[in-house]
Amino acid sequence: MASFVSAGLIGISLGAQYALLALGFTLIFGILGVVNFAHGGFYVLGGYAAYSCVTFLGLPYPLAVVAAMLATGALGYVFELFVVERVVDDHLATLMLTLGLYLMIGTGIQAVYGPESPQFGFPVTGTLRFAGFYMPLENLVVLAVCLVAIAGVYALMYRTDLGRGLRALADNRQVAATQGLRPKLLFPLAFALSCGLAGLTGALVTPILSLGPLVGEPVLAMAFLTVILGGFGSIIGATVAAFLVGLIEAYSVVYLGGSKGALALFVLVLVVLIVRPSGLFGKEARGA
């Protein structure tokens, strides 16, 4: 029973991380129609940015996390404005551009920091014991920050004019544009928001999991799984599916062992594609 509860807590904590990543990914897809292959790259970049701030600038960790989020967001803004924007309606071209950026980020990190994983630990350590089950404190901190960030994204998307504008663009770009919304202003902002979320997740999670030039790839795969399960472009779908994926992964590690959880998730995705291709909350997904 104790291990059941512990695994559940770990699963929720994982789910919160996946939700932040998947939210960013699905926002860009919903609003711009762009599949951002560099999303995993921004996650890695966020980790290295926080690491550099702590190690070389001596900043306290919370400030480093904020700095990492701002830095990745700024890079995303610039990349959208000057590169992606030029071919934004060509799905294949944007896919290739973001893939190219991902490769350059990976090589850039290797060139600056080397291929080995740097020493980057979480500042809070210890374990919370409560009624027989236990949970590492750093996971709790990450979970709390992730939940606040998710709430922030929801508040931004559903309670502000910027969010309403972004959702309008996602619903129907042409109508939104005739109503006075300017894609050229909002697209880079949306990209910055999404990349900033990936950077935030990286800064938070890499000290616990691991930091290295290649850690972005499995993370990207998890974001893909989540977004297919939740339904493309759906904010609620991405959130719900992320927690589902996190729980399945945590429980399968405990009860099945090894990588069977990832295999089970892949099979689940195939089943969803057969039964309900639009995903759990696919109503908001874009048509062809």
Partner: protein, 338 residues
């Protein structure tokens, strides 16, 4: 997209690969042998990406299908005692094609983005599957000790014979690619130019996408067999998910408008990587940069840009890019296939 003449790219690619059979007889430099062997594998795999790109689909599944083909051939050699090169090549084509068929029917009816993401996941998953099935695939140890392959009963054991087999596989892959792209030329063009229009005029788009996907999977499988035969081992690291972007890079940078593109791209980039192998960690970043340059500045890649330059020099202008010929192509294709 500009093409030389109607089938110029296909003919040129097959001819060049045919001529490359001569290289092992001209030199016996180990550097040339190993590099040409790697190029032969890379070209075969890049053809797989090329076929999918003809339909505006980006595939990350090449390493997955390479693994299926390569392991199928290795297991057939180890456990079934099959050593005939033709049988093994055919097996390495058929095994991944059989996996691709149901998967393609499932995901190619959906929007293109599903295809991209599922192929990405497939490559990640196949690695795990190899680790989870040590009895069949050898797990992390891989499979070693395959018997040497034979051609008409003659054992292909020395370096030259292995290289000749790799060139032979690449040549066969080129012929298959040419046949598919000539056979479905109009359907592919219709899908690439305007899928919605093609569909509205009665072309059953997903059916042709599935045919292309099955062929592409088979080609990747042949590349996997070629790689396993060269390394004398079937090992999960040969089919890493990261390698999928290499094959994409070869095709896009070489040029996706002509069959010469993947050939030129794979040859140049593999050759470059062999020369600068001490700085191998930077090759991916270079590929990334070149992909960005191609997308923003030189849509046709190396081959397309050179061809456009040549046409401009020789003054052969051809009108292109208007809607009328596209509708014509789509209508023609829809009419013929019903």
């Amino acid at each position: 997209m500009a093409r030389f003449s109607q089938f110029g790219g296909e003919i040129a690619a097959i001819a060049i690969l045919g001529l490359s059979f001569l290289v092992p007889f001209v030199t016996d430099s180990p550097f040339v042998y190993s590099t040409q062997n790697l190029i032969a594998v890379a070209v075969t795999a890049a053809f797989s990406v090329y076929i999918m790109l003809r339909m505006d689909l980006l595939t990350f599944a090449v390493p997955a299908f390479m693994a299926i083909g390569g392991y199928a051939a290795a297991i057939a050699g180890l456990k079934g005692g099959i050593v005939d090169s033709f049988a093994l090549t055919a097996l390495s084509f058929i095994a991944p094609a059989l996996v691709a068929l149901p998967l393609g029917i499932l995901i190619l009816r959906l929007r293109g983005i599903y295809f991209v993401l599922v192929t990405f996941l497939l490559t990640q998953i196949l690695q795990l599957l190899i680790f989870e099935t040590p009895d069949l695939t050898g797990g992390t140890n891989g499979l070693v000790g395959m018997p040497a392959t034979t051609l008409f009963g003659i054992e292909l054991a020395d370096n030259r014979a292995v290289l000749l087999l790799a060139i032979g596989v690449a040549f066969a892959a080129a012929v298959i690619t040419a046949l598919v792209s000539v056979w479905l030329r109009r359907e592919f063009a219709a899908i690439e130019e305007n899928e919605v229009l093609a569909q509205s005029l009665g072309l059953v788009v997903w059916r042709y996408k599935v045919i292309g996907f099955v062929a592409a999977a088979g080609l990747a499988g042949m590349a996997g067999f070629s790689l396993v035969n060269m390394l004398l081992t079937a090992h999960p690291t040969s089919f890493s998910p990261q390698s999928s972007v290499n094959y994409i890079a070869y095709t896009i940078i070489g040029g996706r408008g002509s069959m010469l593109g993947p050939l030129v791209g794979a040859t140049l980039l593999v050759w470059m990587s062999s020369i600068f192998s001490t700085h191998g960690e930077f090759s991916e970043g270079l590929y990334g940069l070149l992909i960005v340059v191609v997308v923003l500045a030189a849509r046709g890649g190396i081959v397309g840009t050179l061809a456009a330059g040549y046409r401009r020099l020789s003054g052969q202008w051809r009108a292109g890019g208007s809607a009328a010929p596209i509708v014509g192509t789509v209508k023609e294709a829809a009419h013929e296939r019903g």
